[in-house]
Structures are given as structure tokens and as C-alpha cells.
Symmetry: C3
Subunit: 454 residues, 3 copies
């Protein structure tokens, strides 16, 4: 019942997306993403404990070949791209880049002040970014030429994609914030967000139950409790924090319009896939987001992070956290197994909001970057169909409950004319002639508007 908190000096730690602590073992993952992972194994005996072997492994074994090297510096940071890997030693400020094809490699020292540490590095096929505990952010080209230096709030995590950089900051006097910027020699530099509030919690502020689950070991390793930060396949920044919720940044290209959307509560999804049983020893460890699929490692056991050897990756479709557990029926299936029955209305509301979110994210990418994989227009069409279908399901329920006011607001949200037509028929079948007439009015008004816009 003692509600006082002791403020502790915050300890900046080297952090790479998907990285794991040593725990009690002699090995840990330096980083992990959709492409693969790098891990380090302590090989030094006795006092010479700084000698290690570093291995870079890939999920696509057809495309890449695993490689390893002896590490005399104790690299504790890594950023893994399709072309190469950037390693760094946080205390001495050493960078070591090597291309996967083994043709190119270079080393470079980054200047550090007293007590300053590198906290995060990010590499892409265009850029290298290094952030420190004092808030110095240094950008280099792929050959180590320094391009920019600036001072921001202390950096705790970095992710990058092409020319875009996503940085997470923390300090007791600057709070938990993020910066999103683009540095392109051709098109110039642009800040989308600068030290804007990031809506996650420090592990220390989590309720007791959650803290225990997260473990002190992990909180000491990743002081903001972040499990990964990355860009989605469509180029949107993602954060997966201590609460196991996937947040995606939406509308970030428009000044001051960016917002964090909770695209999935993976704890809730594990509860669903376990048919309503509380699962303590099952955790999602994120790798990346490809459209609506969270690529991840399903971790079983005591720790929240993956152990060795690396399990095969799993996939999970995103679902916006809108379920009310207490309204979900627990039934029994044919074989008397416990089974979840999610009410139709609840499922339809989730699909409505989700297809709106996914369509908004995809439209923004399409408008600004063009097609990425070529099938985006088709995906958008099916999202619009899902959107209208979910609304029609809600419309039918409202009709059956004679809730004409609600049914009308639902019809107004419909996007396609054929969906409005379907709504007319549902109203007719429910013998709600007044509603039928008003939905037809909406159709005609839109038709008129289209004519006027020609």
C-alpha cells in the first residue's frame, strides 16, 4: 500500500530492435527482424571475458548465407539490413560495418564525451545513424563519411528505412518522445515529428502484476520496456512495447496530424487463440509487420524473449483491440473442447474499424510513395469491400432491433453504391419503409453530387 516511488537515476543501455538480454546464459541476440538475426556468444574464459563470437543468421536460407566472426571489441549493438550489418560497441564508440557479400567492410570511431554511450545504431541501404545517451545523433553515408550532427533528447532506440529514421528518446526532464525524419541528399531533409510524445509507459510505471511478468532482467536491458521498433513493409513506424500492444503511426506525412493506432493487443489474441484461457507462459516476440500480418517468434516458457536455438517465425493477423472479454461466450465445440463465440456485432465493429485503419495507412503510402509490391490497389478494393460488409452486418442488426436512428447513421458511413443498394433491400425485408426511403435518398444525393463533380 506504500505508493511512493523512488526515483532512480535512469541508466542508458545499448539497445537494438528485437535484441535480448544475456540473462544467465553466455549468449544473446543482438538484434532480430524480418530478415534475420545476429547473436553473440561469449568465448573468453576467466577474466578475458570480452572475447566473443558474433554470428549473423537469416530466415531466408536460399537468399543469404550465415556467417560469423571473432569479436575482440565486445560489440553490443547491431543493425541488420538486406545488404549488410552494422555493429557497434557502445562504450568505446566503435562502428564496424560489413556487407553480407563480404566485399566491403570498414571501421570507424565515433567521438564520445565523458560518460557518453552509443545507445542505438541504425543502417539502411542509404544511410547510417548513431544515437547516444547525451542525445548526439550523427548521420554517416554508407562508407562512414560524417554528414550531419545534431543534439536532441537522449536516444534510447533507433530504426531506419531507406532515408527515413525513427528515434525514441527518454530523459527524466524530456519524457518519452519520438522523432521521425528523412535525410535525403537529393530531396533535402525533412522532420515529420520532432520529440513528440510517445504513448508508452516505463516498466517502472506498470502495475505490479505486469512488472513481474516482464521481469527485472528485461526492464534493466530495455529501460523503456520496448521489445522492438521497426518500419512496416509499407513504411510506417511501429513500436511494440512492454504491454505487448502493436502501435503503428498513421498520417505522419501531414504536419501535426500523426497519431498512434493500436493495431493489435497480442495478449488478447493469445487469450483468444487459447480459447479464453489465461496464458502466463506464452509471449509474442515481434519481428516485423507486413501489411496485416505480425511476423513474430512465439516464445514459450519463463522468459518473455526468445532463447536458443531460434524457433521458426509465426504469423498473426492484426485485430484492433475492441473485444469485451466479459461479453464473449465460452462454448463447447463438437468434441467438447472449450471454444470462443465472439458476438457478431462485436466482430463486425472490429472489422469496420480495422478496415478503416488499414485503408488509411495504405492510401497514405500509395499517395506518397506509389505502389510498393504492385498489388496495393487490389488490397485497397478488398479493404473497402470488408468495410462495407461489416457495416451492412451492423445495419441488419439495427434493423432487426428497429433502431432506425442508428441504422441511418450506419448507412451514411457506407462507401459503395452497391452496399447502399444492399442496405435498401435489408430495410425492405425488415419492413422499415421509412428507413428504406431515407437510404434511397442518400443514394440519390450521392449520385447528384457525382454528376455535379463531372
Amino acid at each position: 500500500s506504500n505508493k511512493e516511488i523512488r526515483t532512480q537515476r535512469f541508466r542508458y543501455r545499448p539497445y537494438s530492435p528485437g535484441g535480448t538480454p544475456f540473462g544467465t546464459s553466455d549468449r544473446r541476440y543482438l538484434t532480430m527482424n524480418n530478415i534475420g538475426y545476429a547473436f553473440t556468444v561469449k568465448t573468453g574464459e576467466g577474466s578475458s571475458s570480452s572475447r566473443s563470437t558474433v554470428t549473423t543468421s537469416f530466415f531466408d536460407l536460399g537468399r543469404y548465407k550465415e556467417y560469423h566472426f571473432e569479436d575482440l571489441y565486445g560489440y553490443d549493438l547491431c543493425s541488420l539490413t538486406e545488404d549488410g550489418a552494422l555493429f557497434a560497441q557502445s562504450k568505446i564508440g566503435r562502428l564496424h560495418y560489413r556487407a553480407h557479400n563480404n566485399v566491403e567492410s570498414w571501421n570507424k570511431l565515433v567521438p564520445l564525451q565523458n560518460s557518453e554511450k552509443i545507445t542505438s545504431v541504425a543502417a539502411t541501404s542509404k544511410k547510417i545513424v548513431v544515437g547516444t545517451s547525451l542525445g548526439y545523433v550523427r548521420t554517416f553515408n554508407l562508407f562512414g563519411l560524417p554528414l550531419e550532427i545534431e543534439k536532441v533528447a537522449p536516444v534510447v532506440a533507433l530504426a531506419a528505412q531507406d532515408y527515413k529514421v525513427f528515434a525514441v528518446h527518454f530523459s527524466p526532464h524530456h519524457g518519452i518522445t519520438y522523432t521521425l525524419f528523412e535525410q535525403n541528399a537529393q530531396t533535402g531533409s525533412k522532420y515529420y515529428n520532432r520529440e513528440t510524445s510517445l504513448p508508452i509507459k516505463l516498466p517502472v510505471d506498470l502495475e505490479n502484476d505486469d512488472v513481474e511478468e516482464l521481469s527485472e532482467t528485461f526492464a534493466a536491458f530495455s529501460p523503456l520496456g520496448i521489445k522492438s521498433v521497426f518500419f512496416s513493409a509499407y513504411g510506417d513506424p511501429c513500436v511494440f512495447g512492454a504491454d505487448d500492444v502493436l502501435l503503428v503511426l498513421s498520417r505522419w506525412r501531414s504536419v501535426a496530424q500523426s497519431r498512434w493506432i493500436p493495431l493489435m493487443d497480442t495478449k488478447l489474441e493469445l487469450w483468444k487463440s487459447s480459447n479464453g484461457r489465461e496464458v502466463k507462459d506464452l509471449h509474442v516476440w515481434p519481428l516485423g509487420l507486413t501489411f496485416n500480418v505480425l511476423n513474430h517468434i512465439l516464445v514459450k516458457g519463463h522468459h518473455v524473449w526468445p532463447d536458443f536455438p531460434m524457433p521458426l517465425p509465426s504469423e498473426m493477423e492484426v485485430r484492433v483491440p475492441m473485444l469485451i472479454k466479459s461479453e464473449i461466450q465460452l462454448g463447447r465445440d463438437a468434441e467438447n473442447e472449450q471454444e470462443l463465440q465472439i458476438p457478431v456485432q462485436m466482430a463486425a465493429e472490429e472489422e469496420f474499424v480495422r478496415s478503416k485503419f488499414m485503408s488509411e495507412l495504405l492510401t497514405d503510402t500509395l499517395e506518397h510513395e506509389g505502389e510498393v509490391y504492385g498489388n496495393e490497389t487490389q488490397i485497397l478494393a478488398s479493404l473497402n469491400a470488408a468495410y462495407d460488409k461489416s457495416l451492412l452486418r451492423l445495419f441488419a442488426t439495427a434493423c432487426s432491433e428497429q433502431d432506425i436512428g442508428k441504422a441511418l447513421t450506419l448507412a451514411q458511413e457506407l462507401k459503395q453504391d452497391k452496399a447502399l443498394n444492399a442496405a435498401v433491400k435489408i430495410a425492405e425485408r425488415a419492413e422499415l419503409m421509412n428507413l428504406m426511403r431515407r437510404v434511397n435518398d442518400i443514394r440519390e444525393a450521392r449520385y447528384e453530387q457525382q454528376l455535379n463533380n463531372v
Copy 2:
């Protein structure tokens, strides 16, 4: 002299604008504004203490009829609009909407994570918004259809008007901030300010004297010490905090130009209306702002909040806090009563700044939303007249003090030609011929400019 502060875990509490704590009684106001108020009375005996009766009352008894209902859920949040009332129970996440006309009503559950609470709700005739202690903000249409979810810093208070939403946030790592946005299905969504610094203090940071006055009971009830948040009749966000100062947000429609104007220090106004006597047991409890009038309940006695039965509302004209108490003379009136004598110069400076502020607020509303009540153009004209009149008074003083430099800068601020003409005559009477010439120069320069602009 011990200046250490103990950091306590911040407790998120359900909060509605104008709401009051139970204190030691069995009843409290859930919310209160220009329209009316809702209050709850505990009816359960012994252990069944969650049963209550909720009553919705109105100030305009001709337009609305009071009603009440038995409350089995223990609603602790309420938003009162011209059409209906939205109640909520913070811990179980239950919403209950009912129209004042008793035709429509619905219930809905909001999903809450472990330890998450609803902290605030807001309803308008267009939207419903629900904010929580974890920072989830969910928007619904008037029939409870979920429209949007996003994650922001934890929400402590909400106010809404039409499509506009004003949210106040707090967390130890995100500070005291506010968000102002509009969600309009037709014209799209727009953020005016996102988690921007809100210049109020936590009660814990107030000096000792003030804390005692505010009382621990109130600080526990409203952890940011806020007494109300609302939109003014002209659509500007207002905050009335623990310091009893009314802050109004100005220029918020222009990106990055919004600023908080202190429109009135009600403690100073009570001191003035008490003819310079310090009043300990008199407090202003805000209801709303209509142009230049703060509608409020004048609270007498130990508590800072209104008790039962509800007193009649009072009105107070805004005055920008610019008075220097030590320069105000305490005189005696004809009946030997103590009387304040505010120096002419001081009063003129206040009127000058106030008419500038009010004109700026009103002009912004007129330009973006058009006329609201129809008499705005006339009000603007009288504000401009007051502005020039106050300047002329200062100009006359400067002339009598032979302060030509100052007099000239005052003349430059004048808006109307007839005011410049008056300034010329004042300078002439003071026999400041050089000043007279230079004011005439200003007149001519403006006249030339007008010709050129044709």
C-alpha cells in the same frame, strides 16, 4: 525548510467538468455547466453502497424538465449536453446515454485492460469521446458505433463542442499537456494541437498556503486541481485551474500559433469586489464563458466547491490580471465604507489589453465559423471603440507628463482615424505642437496607404 518532495504514484481519477467530491456527504455533483448539472445520491444502506439515485437538473426550467433514475452501476462520470446526458462507470467501462426527451437511450461497454479506467467522457450533439488512464481515446457516433481509437498520453479531462474535442493529459513522463482536435466525417479529421504543454500546475507543486486552501480532498478528487474545462460560447477552449485563473486558448486554428491568455484572476476580482479585503471563505466555481462573462457559482464557506442545494448562478465580467495591488488606493466612500480607487492609467492599460484580446478571439471565430449569435460585428465595433478610448486616455496622460516619445507610440497603436484626430486635439490642447504634427503625419501616411490599396 525541508524542500524534498516525495514522488507519489499518480492516481488517475474519473473526472467530469465542474464535478465535485463527496467530501463527507452522501451526494456530489457529477458535472456542472451552463446548461445544468447532474448529481448522484448514495441510497444503498450498509454494505450495498453502490446503489444510487442520479438526478439531471437544468438552470433553464422553462426549456428542460429535471429527471432522475435509479443507478445500479455507480456511474461516476457524466457529460451533459443540450440534447442528452452521457453517464459512465470508470472501472467497469460502462456507458449509458439518454436523451433528455427520454425517447432514446443505449448502453455499451468499453474494453479496458487490466488496471485501466475511464477517466473522462464527453458528448456533443455529433460525437461521443471516451478517454482512459492508459491513454486510449475512443470516439463513437451518437448511437455508440465505434469510429476511431488511438493511443495518446493518459487522459485526465475531456470537453467537447460539436466536432471539436479538447483533452487534458498527464503522466509523470509526458507532463501536463492538452490535445485539441476535430473529427468531422464530412470535412475530415484535423489536429490543432497534439499533447502540447498546458501551463497549469499540479496541486502538489503549489505553495503550501494555496494547497491548504484547495484542500487535500479536492486534490485527491481532481489530481491536476482543475475545477472545470469547457468551450466558450464562441468556441474557444477554456481551463479553470487550482489557481482560480481563467485561461482561454487563442489563435488555435493557426498551426503552432495557439497561446493561453489569462482572461481573469477570479481571486483578484473577489478581492476587488470585497473592496480590498482578503476573502478566505469565498470561491468562484466556474460554469462557462459567454463572450466576456464568466457564469459561475459563488461558493461561500469552507469548501472550494458548491454544496447542496445548488445556489443560483452568478456572473462576472472578465478583467485581464494587470492590477498592482500596492498601487491601488483604499479610500472611503460617502458612508465611510472602504472603497477601491484604481488609478486611471492602470484601468486604461487593462482595458487596452482586454479589448485587444477579446477582439482577437472574436475575429478568429467570425472568420472561421461565421456569426454565431448574429450580433458579433456590432460587438467587434464596440471592442475597437473601447480599444481606442483606452489608448486615448493613456495618450492624454503621456501628454500631461510631456512624454512625447511614449505619446507617439500610443498614437501608432490607434485603430480608427477619428481616434487619431482626437489625439491631434489632445496634443494641441497640451501645446505639444511637434507631437501634434507627428500624429498628423501618421494620419496622412495611413490615408495614402488606403488610397494605394484601392
Copy 3:
């Protein structure tokens, strides 16, 4: 090893740029800048300790004449401009302005709430700004006419230039932030940045070694550890903090694009000018920045601040902090004196980044304010030359190391055609015919592009 921090109530202190504490003496500098300084000497004996003499002195003795006056109010704030000096007493809220020519002077009281203090004042030839510990910012014209009031986060420091105001804020719940705005009666008001994160540290967060060096006396005097804030001669805001690094704000005229550039680490420069010896008792006390020269007082001895009498100012050319101490050779010169040998590559990288920064700052000023001293176009040309020269040096090194990939990226950064031509010749001499061809391709591509743009 006890890492707990005790949170102390933050004490707001009157602060003026370049001001110093009394320490154990009877005199201190109220403020100090490129123009001159004001200091106060306690003259009261025994209990009447509030009597002082204030002196205003100038560095350009040909242009200004020193003057002093008896101070009955205990002025503890001062802003010194080319025209006059604004003094203020923080607790009673008294302002006292006097022109250096002794023709004009006025006094005014600023209203303060209980426990509110003036923390900073700033004067220019256009405006007067007063900021307080409660976050009230009041603007006056040069004759003391109040123009604006707004409420922001508590103010700890102010600097101003013409119509521009730079404010530093701090509160435990709003963090360390800055605001940059312009208030111009003719062109209107404009906020460039509003309570944006300022990347400096509180002395309490510095590591132990640094804190000792800074001294508790100074941390108590300037709670954010700031040694000065000012506008550079070209109009960019500068902060010189407890870490002795000069930060300059760049690109602040473009919405959301401003960033803090570390233009010089003066500790590192002192280490260099001491030929690699650690110097404990030597400190830089900043006065102002004129293009690439930091005007300062070189302070010798125990304190970090200048003592009496005032030493002559020194100059130091800016150098971007990019040196790696461990890679710098310590040699011996002809007379066997220790001498630094900075590797050519390292020096070239620094010159490259520095000329980019200086050119970016100057270009922004030129585009928005036009020429300031008349020689800016010429300075820009020499910056571009230095930029290309440093790149060519790096290009030559890459050629000698046969690093064609790197050499090519360096050639792409070159600005002038004659520099590209020089690169072609360097590649030719190194017998890198393929590289030569590709640099020639860059030349031709640019030539084509120029033709197309005609």
C-alpha cells in the same frame, strides 16, 4: 553506488545572460554580452544590505561611456542593449529602464501573484519582455506600455533581438523547453517554436565529476546550468550550457524543421590549445557569437565565472566536435614542446561538416533577412570553397586507399564544377580509370541538368 536521486523542489532564480553569482564576494555581474556588462556592488553595511551601486560598462570605450547609479531596490536582473539597460527586481516586480544617453528613463511595477518572481527580462530596441516563475510572459513597448500577456511553462531565461524573443522554460512537469517567437506590430506575431524540447541537462543530472567542476554555487545560481543564451550576430538563437558546448538553432524559420547544432565543444578546444593537456582551471565564459567566432572571457582559477576586474575578451573559432582524442598523435615540435597532430582525414571531415553548417545558417539568414553586414555573399563563396576543398582531401585519401565506392560518394557531394574537375585529375593520377570515368559522368549529368533548367 547509491543511484537514487532525491527530487528537490526546483527553485526559480532571477537569471540574466552571462550573469554571475556573488560567491563569497560583495559584487557580481548582473549580465554580460558582446556590448558590455552591468555589475552590482553591495554598499549597505550591517543590516541595510539591500543598498547597492550598479555600474554599466562597455567593451567599446570609444562608443559608450561607463555610468553608475545608487540602487535602492536591489536590482537582480538586467538586459543590456546598444541603446539602454533594463533592470528588474525579481521579488517586488519593479522594472527600471534607462537609455545609455541618459535622456530617457522610466519605472514600472509588474503584477506578481503570491510566490511569483520575475525570473528573466529581455530588452531590444523594439520591445521589452518579462518572464516569471509562474510562466506569465508580459511584453511591453519601449515606454512600458503593456502589449501582450500569455501563460506558458515557467520561464528560466530570456534573450531577445529586434522583434524576436527566445525563452527557456523549466518545470518538473513540463521539462526543459524553449520558445522562439516574433512580435511585430507591422507584420504580426509568429511562433517559430513553442515549448519545444531543449537538449540540455540539469546540473543535477550531470555525472559527479562534472558537477564538482561546475560547483554547487553556480548550480544554485543558474538552476539549468546555463552560462548564457543570446542571438548570434546573424540572428540565430544560441545556448551555452553547463557542458560548455555551444548549441546554435538552425532552420528555425521553417515549421517543425529547427534543430540544435553543436557548433563547438569549448572544453575540447581548450584541450587542443593546451596541446593535449587536461586543463582543470581554465574555462570559457561566453559573450556572443559573430559568424564563426565565439567572443568570450577566458576564466582562470577556481570558479567557472569571471571575477573582478573584468579581463579582456578573447576570440575562439568554432570547430564542430568531431575529434577522437585517442586518434590524435601527441608529437614534439622543434623545441621539444608537446604538440598535437590532428590526422588529415579527421580535420577534413570536420571542415566538411562545419562549412556545411555555417553555409546553411548563413543562407537561411540571407534568404529571410537579406544582407546584415554586406559581405555575406563573399563569405558564402569561401564556405563553398572550403566545403569542396575538404571533400577533395577526403577523395584523395580514398583514392590512395583504392576505395572506389567511397571516393564516388565523396565526388557526388562536391558542389562546384571545378572541384569535380580536380577530382577527375586526382583519380587519373591514382590510375583509377573507372573512377575517373564515373566522376566525369557526374559532371556531364549536371551539365545536362543545367541546360534543361535554362
